[in-house]
């Protein structure tokens, strides 16, 4: 109770409208990689509405952008569970093909990505595709930075293992 009151008293005022102006596109792409094109706009909208409701509890422990992507990540997880959807990796490969810069190994890579654990998938996408640093990932999914490093190491080992076994076939 007292802790909550103290937290509220140290809350930083956030202008969510400005955040939306600055980060809408990045959040939309972030959501697209997790829930697909069809639900990306809904997930993005829900992300900013949630941010609007929680703005008063933002304490400034992390960057506002990291805090916002953390909300987007949780929103996408929730939406994926609700809609019972996996990562839209096929959509990504298809889009890559349509963009006119075909990557022959894209399909192979996404197939390997499907085979690793969800925890490893999450850190790989956050780091390799969304471009977040280890520290930002740690703050976003609330795990130690060392765990992020370890998970990425093991995720890449697993990916290489799957890719190599596919080559052998």
């Amino acid at each position: 109770m007292l802790t909550q009151m103290l937290r509220r008293s140290t809350a930083i005022h956030l202008d969510v409208e400005s955040l939306a102006e600055a980060h809408y596109d990045a959040i939309w792409r972030f959501c697209f990689r997790r829930v697909g094109r069809e639900l990306a706009a809904d997930a993005t909208q829900e992300t900013f509405l949630t941010a609007l409701r929680r703005a008063s509890s933002f304490r400034g422990d992390s960057d506002a952008k990291t805090w916002l992507f953390g909300i987007a990540l949780n929103t996408c997880r929730s939406l994926s569970r609700k809609e019972k959807r996996d990562l839209p990796l096929d959509e990504i490969v298809e889009l890559q093909a349509q963009s006119g810069t075909p990557n022959l190994s894209a399909m192979r890579l996404t197939q390997a990505l499907k085979k690793i654990s969800p925890e490893h998938q999450e850190v790989v996408i956050l780091h390799e595709m969304d471009g977040f640093s280890y520290l930002e990932i740690a703050q976003m999914i609330e795990i130690p930075e060392g765990t992020v490093k370890s998970r990425l190491h093991h995720a890449f080992l697993a990916l290489r293992k799957h890719l190599n076994s596919e080559e052998d076939l």
Binding site: M1, M5, R8, S9, H13, V16, E17, A20, E21, Y24, D25, W28, R29, F32, R33, R37, A40, A41, T44, Q45, F48, L49, L52, R53, R54, S56, S57, I92, V93, L95, Q96, Q98, S99, T101, N103, S105, A106, L109, T110, V124, H127, E128, M129, S133, Y134, K149, S150, L152, H153, F156, L159, R160, L163
Partner: protein, 421 residues
């Protein structure tokens, strides 16, 4: 440092300068490590190629929605609620004993040190009557044996009292109505109106009694002047008594007898000594009683003469004894009447006046106590006890009222949680 685990971090640029140097040293000497780094970089580049995303949509619609949905920044009432609740509890803890008649709050609000209590007790102590101990202002002067006035009560000097005194405490011994002069000082912001002179009644025997209470600048000087005045008027002082209040104010009480004809002169002169706080005068007309006593005395004198004549004329022994007995009775009754008559005439000739002098109230600066260390310790201890009692009360109220405030808190918490969701 796990070298192999750090290779991925090295490729990602997440290592410190020292760790980078260590990796590079290891890579320089190991082909396996160099191959590992190359493989990791290759895989990373493949991911980097997966950047294509469609053009985001819905930005304008979201911005509009946010503008509409933007909640007005609500003031945080939580501290205000908590403060109000705490103030309420403390208020109840303080006021409740007063409402229940315990008087505890008043007691707690002005904690007294033991030394202060002791000083107050000593100030309340009765006045000294032993001149050897008390000095000038604490002496008691006996002008006449007190039993000289025993018949004042028989004559009921209070009959015909003109004013005041009915609500004042009555001195059980003297029958004189007295009050605490300090009380009257505090009540009287203006001097009491001076009484007009009692009407003179030539040819009648009247016992006058009066009292006057005055606030004077110097009590000792006023007492001395009053004694001189009374003696100058042919009267005398029956008794004096002095007291010292806790605030250092001196009080003196005098009972004097003054020739009846000069009763008004004495009253008038005394009223000039200071501010009159109260004044009473009363008279009892004993003319009829004196006349009756005189008539009875005369009749007894005639009877006495008759019994003497009979005694001389009788020769029978038993008859002489009977006459003698009757003669003794008559003489005893006559002497008693004569003494009563004399006392009554004395009282009528000399009026009784009670004079009270009260020193003017002076505000003295607080003198530092000689025992300041003990006073400070006791004061601090009392203050700590006071705070402890308040906190204890608050804690007890919190416990007893817990069903209410815990429910309220739970409702608030659930409402807030729901709002956040």
């Amino acid at each position: 440092m796990n070298l192999k685990e750090d290779l991925k971090a090295y490729v990602d640029g997440e290592l410190t300068a020292d760790q980078v140097k260590e990796i590079e040293r290891a890579a320089a000497s190991s082909e396996e490590i160099r191959d590992e780094i190359a493989a990791l970089r290759s895989l990373k580049e493949e991911f980097a190629a997966l950047t294509a995303t469609p053009e985001p949509k819905g930005k304008i619609a979201l911005i509009r929605r946010l503008q509409v949905a933007k909640p007005a920044r609500k003031p945080n009432f939580m501290w205000a609620y908590a403060g109000a609740a705490a103030a309420l509890l403390i208020g109840i803890a303080i006021i409740e004993p007063v409402l229940s008649g315990g008087g505890g709050a008043a007691e707690m609000a002005t904690p007294k040190t033991e030394a202060a209590v002791a000083r107050e007790e000593s100030a309340k102590a009765p006045s000294y009557e032993d001149s050897a101990e008390s000095g000038e202002m604490k002496s008691k002067v006996e002008g006449r044996p007190s039993n000289s006035f025993a018949n004042e009560r028989d004559l009921d000097p209070r009959l015909g009292r003109s004013q005041a005194g009915s609500a004042m405490p009555e001195d059980a011994d003297t029958g004189v109505i007295r009050s605490n002069p300090r009380d009257r000082v505090s009540q009287a912001t203006k001097p009491a109106p001076q009484l007009p002179n009692l009407p003179t009644n030539p040819g009648r025997d009247i016992i006058y009694n009066g009292s006057i209470s005055l606030e004077v600048p110097d009590v000792t000087k006023s007492v001395n002047e009053a004694i001189s005045l009374v003696q100058g008027l042919g009267g005398y002082v029956v008794s004096t008594e002095s007291t010292l209040d806790g605030d250092g104010t001196a009080n003196a009480y005098l009972e004097v007898r003054i020739p009846a004809a000069k009763f008004d002169i004495a009253n008038k002169s005394l009223s000039k000594y200071g501010k009159i706080l109260s004044q009473t005068s009363s008279g009892q007309d004993v003319t009829q009683q004196i006349a009756e006593h005189e008539g009875r005395t005369r009749a007894l004198a005639v009877a006495e003469q008759e019994y003497i004549r009979m005694l001389n004329a009788t020769r029978n022994t038993s008859a002489r004894l009977e006459v003698r007995r009757r003669l003794d009775e008559v003489r005893a009754e006559r002497e008693g009447l004569r003494a009563a008559l004399k006392r009554m005439k004395d009282l009528a000739a000399l009026s009784t006046l009670s004079i009270e002098f009260t020193g003017e109230e002076t505000v003295k600066p607080d003198e530092p106590s000689a025992n300041w260390w003990d006073d400070s310790n006791t004061g601090a201890s009392n203050a700590l006890g006071f705070v402890g009692r308040i906190l204890g009360r608050v804690a007890i109220y919190l416990v007893y009222l817990s069903p209410i405030w815990i429910t309220g808190l739970a409702v608030w918490w659930f409402a807030r949680k729901r709002a956040v969701k």
